[in-house]
């Protein structure tokens, strides 16, 4: 579990800089005048020496934003400044200081891992072959690539190729100030994933700024200082991971119960009744506080039919009623836990709320 999040500690001189590393204002993107806006006026800043998480469901506008920030696409309107420089006019200067690990694989099929890293270093301006060789050896060791240093990229597994793709970006030399990571851990095993996240953290501590997109909320929680959630081309939430949980998780709690026997349909119906009645009794409170998310629900574990996950905002009351029900039905509980909502729960809740309100607007 990636639950031991440590605050990134880049040198104060970097983190305290007043101007943002990335500044996006009213950014819009439209493919053809007849089509809808893929990005509909988004604005956000990314501070120097921090990890900025950019999350959203598929098709929300993440990749389009990333393509604009990495100069692959031009915006329809709005402004983007990176290192205080306009992305349209100072493209070349900006590109010298950024690294990009895109979601799709990219590799030189005919080259060995070592040769590909060396070539990449040369392209990034490491002209001294001795310096390059040392850097290649350092990267091979750090990313655990020594055993495949003489293998051609074409012969590698998906995970190995992904590691090379990530490692390659650190051949950038000492000049990389900003790294874009688009779902960088796809295809990596847990230890490689953890190694990568820790390596990034280390670089953030020495001043690197990271723009990070992922679908894995645990990673976002572990790594990110700030998170923006985008949906349908608009930023719908922006805060620290803790701030998002406080703001959008509300008083919700997650109750996880594992029973000793498989749950029957009739018992699940009784559980649902308890949740619905508890929600109704809490309705007045909810109406008073719009920002508190109180979407109660029950999820049956598909792989283990003995277990249920219940999301409610009056956990103690619901548990007491469930215990009475269990006792009345002669059932036995193996384990029970109450947890605050995870970032994933919060993310789902924010996106679902946004979808609901959009559906209501359409009606």
């Amino acid at each position: 579990m990636l639950n031991d999040r440590i605050s990134n500690q880049a040198p104060p001189s970097i983190r305290d800089r007043n101007e943002p590393c990335i500044s996006v204002t009213h950014l819009k993107k439209q493919y053809g005048k007849a089509n809808a806006f893929i990005l509909d006026g988004i604005s956000f800043d990314v501070k120097y020496g921090t990890v900025f998480g950019f999350l959203g469901p598929n098709g929300a506008g993440k990749t389009t934003t990333l393509k604009i920030l990495t100069t692959l696409l031009s915006p329809t309107s709005g402004s983007v400044y990176i290192f205080g420089k306009d992305i349209i006019r100072k493209q070349s200067e900006i590109k010298r200081k950024i690294g990009v690990v895109s979601q799709n694989p990219s590799f030189e099929a005919n080259l060995t891992v070592e040769r590909a890293l060396d070539l990449y270093g040369l392209l990034w301006g490491l002209h001294d072959s001795g310096v390059r060789k040392n850097k290649v050896n350092e990267i091979l060791s750090t990313f655990d690539l020594e055993s495949i240093r003489n293998s051609k990229n074409d012969e590698l597994s998906i995970g190995q190729r992904r590691r090379v793709q990530l490692a390659r970006e650190f051949m950038h030399g000492e000049d990389m100030d900003l790294l874009f990571l688009d779902e960088p851990t796809v295809g990596l095993d847990p230890s490689a994933r953890r190694m990568l996240l820790d390596y990034i953290k280390k670089h953030v501590m020495s001043g690197l700024t990271v723009f990070f997109t992922t679908h894995i909320m645990e990673e976002a929680e572990y790594l990110c200082d700030e998170i923006a959630i985008i949906d349908d081309g608009r930023i719908i939430a922006f805060d620290t991971p803790t701030g998002l949980k406080q703001k959008y998780g509300g008083a919700n709690k997650i109750i996880e119960i594992t029973f000793k026997e498989v749950l029957s349909e009739s018992f699940i119906d009784l559980l649902k009744k308890i949740i619905i009645s508890s929600e109704n009794s809490d309705g007045d409170q909810r109406r008073r506080d719009d920002t508190t998310n109180t979407t109660s629900r029950i999820d049956i574990n598909e792989t283990n039919q003995n277990a249920v996950t219940i999301t409610v905002n009056n956990a103690e009351e619901v548990i007491s009623e469930i215990l009475q029900l269990v006792s009345k039905n002669g059932m036995q509980i193996e384990s029970i836990s109450i947890n605050p909502p995870s970032l994933e729960e919060v993310f789902l809740s924010i996106v679902n709320d946004e979808n609901s309100s959009r559906d209501n607007e359409r009606k």
């Binding site: 393509k67 990495t70 100069t71 692959l72 493209q91 070349s92 590109k95 010298r96 950024i98 990009v100 895109s102 799709n104 694989p105 990219s106 590799f107 030189e108 099929a109 005919n110 080259l111 040769r115 070539l119 040369l122 392209l123 990034w124 301006g125 002209h127």
Partner: protein, 261 residues
């Protein structure tokens, strides 16, 4: 600083193209294929043809000399196809997008590919010239006036075939489609040309088909330069090849600029 010199970026990309694209198989293909033609087919067909040789302008040369000069143009065509392969692989393996987020732009990428294809085309011609030299040296009859014709044919030939494969690689969506079309067309280019046999004396429809094929012009001009047999018809071929190469080059450049990352 190297970093801010646009030309240096192009040199880096040319270097990268050559390092990433040329592997052992490519080199074997580039050398073995024409060598088999020159030393196996060349001498085998010479036995059939006998001592009469092949007439080029006012000169009669051995079939092996005729074929070696043809193979120089033929290898330019083979070598230049790598330009299309570079773009095809860059698109398929994600390197096109990756290069564009590095300190390179699309124009630099396009220019680097064009330079690469000319270098590889000329390199391929040089390889055959060296390998085939023992078979051709007694018939070589170059002059200061004829050498530029050969160089022109090789450069224009590289541009034509390199640009042609670039157009294919930017338009095709699947590897299968790319391979089927490029192999099919190059089979036509190779064998419906004057690379292996003279166009004179062929049945009229076949002779006409030879002159629909740019490889015929490349090979004819190359031979005319090597054997110093420049005629009015050679100059017409020079103009036609120039026009064809320019047209295909412009389409290829436009296709590369329009490629989306």
């Amino acid at each position: 600083m190297h970093d801010y010199i646009v030309g240096y970026n192009i040199i880096l990309l040319v270097y990268r193209n050559i390092v990433a694209a040329i592997d052992k198989m490519f080199l074997i293909w580039q050398i073995a294929f024409p060598v088999v033609y020159i030393f196996v087919a060349g001498y085998a067909y010479s036995a059939l043809i006998g001592d009469q040789g092949i007439t080029i302008g006012s000169l009669t040369v051995t079939y092996v000399s005729f074929l070696t000069a043809g193979m120089i143009g033929f290898n330019v065509m083979n070598g230049s196809t790598i330009a299309g392969a570079i773009i095809w692989n860059d698109k398929r393996n994600g390197m096109f997008q990756q290069i564009l987020v590095m300190p390179f732009n699309k124009i630099q990428y396009v220019i680097a590919n064009l330079i690469t294809l000319i270098l590889i085309g000329l390199g391929s011609a040089a390889v055959i010239m060296i390998i085939g030299f023992p078979t051709i040296f007694h018939d070589i009859n170059v002059t200061l006036w004829s050498i530029p014709y050969t160089i022109y044919a090789l450069v224009a030939g590289s541009i034509f075939f390199g640009s042609f494969t670039i157009i294919l690689s930017t338009r095709m969506k699947s590897s299968e489609g790319y391979n089927v079309i490029s192999n099919g067309l190059f089979l036509f280019f190779a064998f419906v040309s004057s690379a292996f046999y003279p166009a004179e004396g062929l049945p009229q429809p076949l002779s006409a088909a030879f002159y629909v094929n740019p490889l015929t012009y490349i090979v004819d001009i190359t031979r005319a330069g090597i054997f110093a047999q420049i005629s009015t018809f050679t100059n017409i071929e020079v103009v036609i090849l120039g026009l064809l190469s320019s047209a295909v080059f412009l389409i290829a450049t436009r296709s590369m600029i329009r490629m989306e990352a």
